[in-house]
Amino acid sequence: MTALAGFQRDFLRNLYDADGGRAGVRVYRNTLLKACVDALQANFPTVARLVGEPWFRAAALVYARTSPPNDPRLYLYGDGFADFLAGFEPAAGLPYLAGVARLDRGWSEAHVAADRSCLAAALVAEQTPDALAARVLSPHPAARWHWFDDQPVFTLWSANREQRAVPEPLHWRGEGALLTRPGAEVRWQALGVAGVFFLNACAEGLPLAAAAERALKHKPGTDLATLLATLLKAGAFAAEPLPHCH
């Protein structure tokens, strides 16, 4: 190991594996950890609003001490924060917190995703039923969707994200969420279990008929035409040249 590499190793050990030290060491340690905690607070604003800033920053500090960023793009920091919260003992009384963190993460990913036009509902409407059944719809790069068993995560997340009071009574049942970016800004809406499995199938590259089958398996009786219209209106699919356009 070179002298420079040895210096780095020792310096980091001093910051991470020890407390105290001279004032200067503490400044480096505090600056570094504050930058991590600030980034987490920026990336998980809904979690922070739910638990309050002091609780959030204390939890984020525990995460930051054991999971330093692995990328200079700090808007991506916190890849493992939802899983961390799921196993974080002080959060045991808040079982929905990890799900809320997953939706904050989804928002961040949607916000910075590649620009691409959304598939227009009219183009799909022009297709014959057979052509449509064989068609593969690609999710838009900014589309994110999640299903949460047994927990009203979307209700909690959206109310806090929009700085509204959580509606009462809160129904403890599974909920899904869809985040899209049809224009400049990220938007969100509730999504049923059929929609979540439909989009999963589309993301796997299955044609529309197979995706529809998957949706029906999880939610028999689903109105597929309405589901497809809802997803198209939200901008869940990326525009691609349709076969007859060639």
């Binding site: 780095q8 793009r73 808007y75 691409r116």
Partner: protein, 285 residues
């Protein structure tokens, strides 16, 4: 056209005032961003940066190249940096004399190192790699110091001059960093600046600082200044600045503000003070 073409005093660009920044027509105004925040695939952030770059000169001030690490810059990071340079065609690109990455992790701070022969060779090589990749000269910023590091073989000014000599890079002189370091390490800021290789300076930074709240349990009697960028520029830093530009000439100057951000008008007023000093120099024969 009544605005001077030459970039004078600039401001850090923050989402808090994107629109006011884009629409501002103050002469000589330019903006600086941390490129890491804009290394995105798409979306509104990049669209805003494009809108600013259409109307104002832009400077990319990197915080993550980790030039003082004993390893070449991360190839993926460098590629993203180059993509952004190609997109916004900045008037200036700068980085720090510090390290922040090792072992696959990124530590969001600007960490110190001994100014040794090994460090000089490593950093000069890393700067050359960055300049080759970006296809342009970059400016290297003097860091803030919070504690003495053993093993220096060069003064900071001599080290920076040698880096310029070996790699052809320029310098970014952060006068607030000099002021803070002088306080924290007990040296004379004015004397430091007399030895600074001013002919290589491509940009100057001015910023505010704060006093470290000493931890009572750990108090060792040291009271440090911190480069917090959350206050107006302090008067003694303005005084040092005035003396520097009298020797260096009208160098593009940034008012850095990253925290406790006031309204755009307040920042613009602070920036006008630097702009006036620069314009006074330009009007001199």
């Amino acid at each position: 056209m009544n605005a001077p073409i030459r970039p004078g005093a600039g401001l850090s660009l923050k989402p808090d005032y994107f629109q006011a920044a884009r629409d501002c027509r103050a002469g000589g105004l330019w903006f600086e961003v941390h490129p890491e925040n804009y290394m995105v695939d798409g979306g509104p952030r990049l669209a805003w940066l494009d809108a600013i770059a259409e109307r104002h000169p832009l400077s990319l001030h990197g915080v993550a190249m980790s030039l003082a690490a004993p390893a070449p810059p991360d190839a993926r990071h460098l590629r993203r940096f180059r993509k952004l340079v190609e997109r916004v065609d900045p008037m200036l690109v700068s980085e720090h004399l510090a390290w922040s990455a090792t072992g696959g992790h990124y530590y969001p701070d600007l960490l110190p190192f001994p100014r040794s022969d090994e460090a000089l060779a490593v950093i000069a090589d890393n700067i050359a790699r960055v300049q080759d990749s970006l296809g342009r000269r970059i400016a290297i910023e003097n860091p803030t110091h919070y504690l003495p590091v053993p093993g220096h073989r060069y003064t900071e000014q001599a080290f920076l001059a040698e880096l310029c000599e070996r790699s052809g890079c320029g310098l970014l002189l952060d006068i607030n960093n000099v002021f803070i370091s002088a306080h924290n390490l007990c040296f004379d800021a004015q004397r430091y600046l007399l030895d600074f290789p001013l002919s290589a300076v491509m940009e100057i930074h001015l910023a505010g600082h704060s006093v470290d709240a000493p931890d009572q349990a750990e108090d060792t009697g040291e009271t440090l200044l911190i480069d917090s960028h959350d206050q107006p520029v302090a008067d003694p830093v303005w005084e040092l600045y005035r003396a520097v530009i009298e020797r260096a000439g009208p160098v593009p100057t940034l008012i850095e503000r990253d925290g406790n951000i006031p309204s755009f008008d307040v920042l613009l007023a602070e920036r006008a003070r630097a702009q006036a000093l620069l314009e006074r120099l330009e009007s001199m024969p």
